[in-house]
Amino acid sequence: MKDFIVLFPETFLWFNESEGLFYNSNAKKFFTFSCNELIHNYCLLFNDPANLYSVAIDHSDKQDALFSSWLDSIVKYKIGAIYSIENEEKKPFSLPPILNLRDEIEEAQLDKNKYYSSINIAEFLNEMSFFLSGGGLPDEEREYYKQIIYPYSEESFLELGVIHSFLEKSNTTHLRQVNLICSDQLIYPNIRDLIGLFVTHGIYVTCYMPGRYTDAFLQIIDILQSTNFTLKLYFITIGDFTKIQDYIKDYSIQYNWVFLIKNENDFLLCEKIIKDHNLTKSDILPVLTSRNFDFFEENIFISRDNIENLSLTKQNVFCNQSINSNYWGHLFILPDGNVYGNLNKKPLGSMREDAMELIKREINDPESSWKCTREKVTPCKDCIFRNLCPPPSNYEFYLNRFNLCTIKCMT
């Protein structure tokens, strides 16, 4: 009789020389383990696709206490099973979760393809954020737009005609979401036409603007009732908030308040407002300033518990391995006409070009933020949680630091 340890096809395994992690994507549970040389060798064998997740157990290895307990845990946590087999030719096997992603495979083979490419770049244009106007921001807020969707800092204005011509040139058949970001409510007189342009094509529009109670805001309130439309209002002062709340409730507008928080006081205040006004939908967005890194470290950093609660499916893990789902398919257009795959990077080009060409540049760039996974950044690439952790965020791109987490890897 020979014993084989076989991992289930839903099990992912990541390891380094000192530690490892099994993730059961069915049960949505992981367990971590320490590696000694013996366990590391078994992990290497599991990692060889030709072994089909099945490794013969050498009985003398069971004398290693750590190894023996590791085997027990694999069975206990339903990561795999041990089978005793008489005929070694009929050894048990499983199917390691190796992604077969047609786009990725064809992309790699593209130069060999003489006649035809089935990769459809148009499919990748799913969301566009137009920064319609900018300026008038306090110094502290000038770089918020690099972290979250927030008005651009420079005094500027994006002409409607330029937007029209950019959309005309580009293929927008797969565009589903457009975000319009204004620094002031009235500075964009064509907003009515612009919203109409998208919603008539069944595209969802979200308009971001400061929640300031002014005549300008009152003048545009009727157009904000369009279907497929959501208004996001940045909280400015409690006075403006109260006035707008009182006014807006009489209109059938889908709206959210957006609270920016820089410290715990901001958070407590916004929590109170949400509770007092019974706000069912609101966005609470932390922002980095030059002084609040400690606040991020204590409250925002990803922890092991956060990851434990993510409940990722096999598809989610594959997604984390391949693309950055925070930004995939999203173009950002600044009022100066420059187009970005990520506002913390150099522009891909300008609105004078076809968006399809800009997307090709983004996905072919080795530094692409759309494809920036934890596998590609230091120190995450060596961390055993790399494919469970959410993909790199704009806070990380902004800081150029990719471990905003409390997990300490042993390497």
Partner: protein
């Protein structure tokens, strides 16, 4: 792996499906002529089959071709294609298409006289028996044709491809193809491929090796079409039919089965199983972020016009050249084009409902690649050769998984492959 994966099947096709497929059309294929300078024994239009009514001596009229081109250009100019760039193949099929080269030149001339629709380009393609290659190769090269040459292997393997006097066409095809290779080596390297039909006179690996040794390319080797054989011709069919499985499972071919493993029927069917059931396969980057599974229709039938629009010499519109003419989806006449998208959707929905009477108890549903146009009695009481009860399905899956167990090295290849 979820062997009994259950999808929510949909039986009603929306008329936007064929409409959008035409907007995004990948191939427009003209059956240029019903004339042929060969009398191949296994020809789909020949004595063995019932699939096509094929009157000899008929050439497609240019006005019919012009009408469908005008119709499609109008559609393309008024609808945004779903692609960043759509390469549409304009195919010429026969009979032997080179017997009607004036038509081909006129069609190409006409297409090139029209403004190219936004985000689209055209590539010309042809399947030829090679008999007239020596006469027309300059033109084919000038127009950058993608050329598929029918060559069944060596002289004996090719010997069902005979001319009207019963002579084997091998020498003529071989010499012409060599001439093309010599005169236009770059074109030959990039634009020419081979298709061979497997008969009792050939063997998969001999065919492959012969064509590779002589032309540096491995051909696609296909079995003779088993669908649509006339009852009274079954004996004749069986006489010349050669299953590729016999070559792939013959121990004498071990050297080759390893070399060509990625195109073996076992590899392909295992690939289909893994792609359908493993949960490891995704089509596009976007699909990795999809929250819901895709809509699933029964069988592996392509949606109307999803692959191509095939226009017969008489103006019938078919979804494919291999489908019985009675399943025509529209008609092009000298007066115009009649494509009724609602009627097409209704027809497909009816076929889905008919075939569902079998599919609902078939265990092979999640891995099915059966085209319903090849199912006998589709419109009355369908009989599907691919139907599997639980026992048959389990046996099928286990035989393929055993193949994987015997060849574990192919797992990575399978997961890095697309077909």
């Amino acid at each position: 792996m979820d062997l009994y994966k259950s999808y929510k099947y949909v039986l009603n096709l929306s008329d936007t499906v064929p409409y959008k497929a035409l907007v995004n059309l990948r191939q427009l294929v003209f059956e240029v002529t019903s004339n042929c300078n060969l009398r191949c024994k296994y020809c789909g239009y020949g004595e063995l089959y019932n699939t096509r009514r094929f009157s000899k001596g008929e050439n497609m009229s240019f006005i019919i071709a012009k009408n469908i081109i005008d119709y499609l250009f109008n559609l393309w100019n008024n609808n945004e294609v779903d692609y960043d760039h759509r390469q549409t193949f304009i195919g010429f099929y026969g009979g032997e298409p080179l017997l009607n080269i004036p038509f081909i030149k006129k069609v190409i001339g006409y297409i090139e006289s029209l403004p190219v629709p936004k985000r689209r380009s055209f590539t010309y393609a042809m399947t030829t028996n090679g008999i007239l290659l020596n006469r027309y190769m300059d033109y084919l090269v000038e127009k950058k044709f993608v050329l598929l040459i029918s060559l069944d292997g060596d002289k004996y393997a090719h010997s069902y491809r005979i001319d009207s006097r019963g002579n084997n066409s091998f020498d003529k095809v071989f010499v012409n193809t060599k001439q093309l290779q010599k005169k236009y080596p770059d074109f030959f390297a990039t634009n020419v491929s081979f298709n061979a039909v497997l008969t009792d006179r050939g063997d998969t690996f001999n065919i492959k090796n012969f064509i590779y040794e002589n032309f540096g390319k491995y051909p696609t080797v296909s079995e003779i079409n088993e669908s649509g054989v006339l009852e009274k011709q079954k004996d004749k069919f069986n006489e010349i039919f050669h299953s590729s499985d016999t070559d792939w499972t013959n121990p004498k071919n071990k050297e080759y089965t390893g070399k060509f493993i990625e195109i073996s029927p076992q590899f392909r069917s295992l690939y289909n199983i893994l792609m359908s059931l493993s949960g490891n396969s995704f089509r596009s980057y976007n699909s990795l972020m999809a929250k819901e599974g895709a809509t699933v229709y029964p069988t592996g039938t392509c949606f109307p016009f999803d692959r191509k629009l095939f226009l017969t010499v008489g103006g019938d519109i078919l979804p494919c050249e291999r489908i019985n003419q009675k399943f025509s989806l529209g008609k092009v006449t000298e007066q115009g084009v009649n494509i009724d998208f609602k009627a097409i959707a209704k027809k497909y929905s009816l076929y889905y409902r008919k075939i569902w009477s079998l599919c609902k108890t078939c265990y092979a549903k999640p891995v099915c690649s059966q085209c319903f146009f090849y199912v006998d009695n589709l419109e009355t009481k369908p009989v599907c050769l691919g139907y599997k009860n639980k026992e048959e399905y389990d046996m099928y899956i286990h035989s393929r998984l055993n193949y994987l167990a015997e060849n574990p090295d192919i797992y990575l290849k399978l997961m890095r492959e697309t077909f």
